[in-house]
């Protein structure tokens, strides 16, 4: 069977599976729609969180990014995993005990303020829309690269599938499809990684192959020979200070992202919330410790196969043709000596490798059968769809629960709330599809913004809301305004107006750390010179600190 036939078969099968799961877990009440009835087992929530978290970018682009950043790629590896420790120790158990539907619910109730609620709801929607457009684009790209469908039609197919299980099943449908999607994406990631590890090192476990074989020193040697810096040399692409600040910003941004936080509302108990954070990070770590191994293997292999070979020799390699066509692999004999040479200077280098090729081309470069290539396509789609669905639910709950039900129409019946929730998710998926087809040029730039925003707004005020009983409305609002204001000003200035990086040369990705610190300080100071929060709020804080009484699965 051809690659294309296998791809149609595997993508068709997995999609049929998602649709079936979505249909089987359709819901009739709002608690099912927003928090899956709080009946999700810890390990299943862990898998769902992992799929929710790992986006098309994690699956397709991250290993490639690391392979070009070398040591400094650690910002993504540590930054996108370390946040789960903060989440597990500082946020998840307490928010589960608090036990409402959304993040703005906590902010609004804890700070007895509808202004805070609305600010939180708008921030949650903004962060989620930023992300979801990228996921839809990812769906379109996978379809076009592997199935020859146009990007537009790929996005339409993706929108229909997500709309089906998200509208029908809400959080419950999303949770169980995410569990299935995690399974698909992790198998798709590991199979080529294991194969290439065996080919290059004879060790079948990529993580061990990276640490115990001589592959990293071989890559260092090649890079030195080509006049590039050592792969394992720290701070060659980013300054030490920026590596520190970006890592911290991604960690606290992760812990503050609404679509990650709400997953911990869906489990049965406080205890389950703690364990499910552990499971989530374990499932994420399986991919995140494989990625740096793939980064080394694929880079070594690509350079080794192409470097210094004659043009005729290279043209005979089967995969070279198909990847040159996509524009991701550039081969040009610039000095017409008949030999392809890679150099440190992009002007004279005759081999250029796009970072997205690292994961996508591995199965072909390693000479794996067609079914594995098809599996990678299905895995990329699973990663994109699962993240999109989680984000759409945050958009839906912010608008239908936090704004419509809490502020506009508190007398709405269960049926009306559910209907509004479904309509909003349908509307959101259509808007997301539109942005997937017509991506605004600034998507990559706003991702830094999403993390900075989550880091500088949600993370500090949720932590303070739990650990500082004296924290009040005035402190929280002042902290959010200063943290958000500074971060927004700095990122927008740096990304769109060529502002110099005047704050110690810290880049836009790392400035969220500073914004969060400002939020903490301002909130603390202001809260100490304004009245203490009302007694029942202080009692509420005492209540979230103790597990007993969280209330299990909702009975309806």
């Amino acid at each position: 069977m051809s690659v294309e036939a296998w791809t149609y078969l595997l993508v068709g099968l997995t999609f049929a599976g998602y649709i079936y799961i979505g249909y089987a877990s359709r819901v009739k009440e709002t608690s099912g729609f927003y928090v899956a009835g709080r009946g999700v087992p810890a390990i299943a929530n862990g898998a769902a969180t992992a799929a929710d978290w790992m986006s098309a970018a994690s699956f397709i682009s991250m290993a490639g990014l690391i392979s070009f950043l070398g040591y400094d790629g650690a910002i993504y590896l540590m930054g996108w995993t370390g946040g789960y420790v903060l989440l597990a120790l500082l946020l998840a158990p307490y928010l589960r005990k608090f036990g409402k539907y959304t993040v703005p619910d906590f902010v609004g109730d804890r700070y007895y303020s509808n202004v805070a609620r609305v600010v939180a709801a708008i921030a949650a929607m903004f962060v989620s829309f930023t992300y979801v457009a990228g996921q839809m684009r990812g769906v379109g790209i996978v379809f076009s690269r592997f199935l020859g469908l146009s990007i537009e039609w790929g996005v339409v197919v993706g929108v229909l599938i997500v709309a089906f299980f998200a509208v029908l099943g809400g959080m419950k449908g999303i949770t169980w499809t995410q569990v299935a999607q995690y399974t698909v994406l992790i198998i798709a990631y590991l199979v080529p990684a294991v194969a290439i590890a065996v080919i290059l090192t004879d060790i079948p476990i990529p993580q061990l192959a990276l640490t115990f074989s001589d592959i990293t020193s071989r890559l260092n040697q090649i890079q030195t020979d080509l006049g590039l810096t050592n792969y394992t040399q720290p701070f060659t692409n980013l300054s030490g200070l920026n590596v520190f600040m970006v890592t911290m910003s991604l960690m606290i941004g992760t812990a503050g992202l609404p679509h990650v936080i709400i997953r911990f509302y869906t489990v049965r108990s406080v205890r389950a919330a703690r364990y499910s954070a552990g499971w989530a990070l374990l499932f994420i770590a399986i991919l995140y410790t494989t990625a740096p191994a793939i980064a080394v293997f694929a880079k070594y292999n690509l350079i080794d196969e192409l470097q210094g070979k004659s043009v005729e020799e290279v043209n005979e390699i089967e995969w070279v043709d198909s990847w040159s066509e996509t524009g991701l692999l550039g081969l040009e004999d610039k000095n017409t000596d008949g030999v392809l040479e890679m150099t440190a200077d992009p002007e004279t280098s005759e081999i250029t490798i796009d970072r997205d090729i690292i994961v996508l081309s591995t199965p072909e470069v390693a000479g794996l059968p067609a079914i594995v290539i098809a599996l990678v396509a299905a895995g990329g789609l699973a990663a994109a769809l699962s993240t999109a669905a989680g984000l759409l639910l945050v958009i839906s709950s912010s608008l239908s629960h936090d704004i419509y039900y809490k502020l506009i129409h508190p007398a709405a019946s269960e049926g009306e709330r559910l209907l509004v929730g479904r309509l909003v998710i349908l509307g959101a998926v259509i808007v997301a599809g539109y942005f997937g087809i017509n991506p605004p040029g600034f998507v990559a730039e706003v991702v830094a913004f999403a993390f900075g925003l989550a880091a500088a707004s949600f993370f500090p005020i949720i932590i303070l809301g739990i650990f500082d009983k004296r924290m009040n409305r005035e402190g929280a609002i002042a902290g959010m305004v200063v943290g958000l204001g500074f971060t927004t000003f700095y990122i927008v200035g740096a990304q769109f107006f060529d502002m110099s990086l005047w704050f110690f040369d810290i880049n836009a990705q790392g400035i969220g750390t500073v914004g969060a610190a400002m939020n903490f300080i301002v909130a603390f100071v202001v809260s100490r010179v304004t009245p203490a929060p009302p007694l029942h709020i202080q009692e509420m804080v005492e209540g979230v600190r103790v597990p007993r009484g969280a209330g299990g699965a909702d009975v309806h």
Binding site: G82, S113, F235, G240, R271, P292
Partner: protein, 99 residues
């Protein structure tokens, strides 16, 4: 906008301000701080602040700081969360606040 003055929640039977209630919270905080120190040591210290000196020490076939930054810190993160969950199980039972 008017603040949302919701009705106060019913008082639970558990007394948070009793010596036991305070001791429970103190134990929780001590555990969190201890684990976060390890979290910072394996990532920010071993992987970033000491990246250059530790690059000269080898951990099997790779530099030690590189191993922490690309593999070790992530493994330790996973262990930290499970240690926290297990330890809290014990503290919850000790103070009889488990579910």
């Amino acid at each position: 906008m008017e603040p949302d003055l919701q009705t106060p929640p019913e008082r639970a039977a558990y007394d948070y301000n009793s010596p036991a209630g305070k001791a429970y919270w103190r134990k929780n905080i001590t555990l969190i701080i201890g684990l976060l120190v390890v979290w910072a040591l394996v990532s920010f210290v071993a992987g970033i602040l000491l990246a250059e000196p530790l690059a000269d020490i080898n951990f099997f076939s790779v530099p030690l700081s590189f191993w922490f930054a690309h593999q070790g810190s992530i493994v330790v993160f996973v262990i930290l969360i499970f240690v926290y969950a297990r330890w809290m199980d014990r503290i919850d039972k000790e103070f009889d606040v488990h579910e």
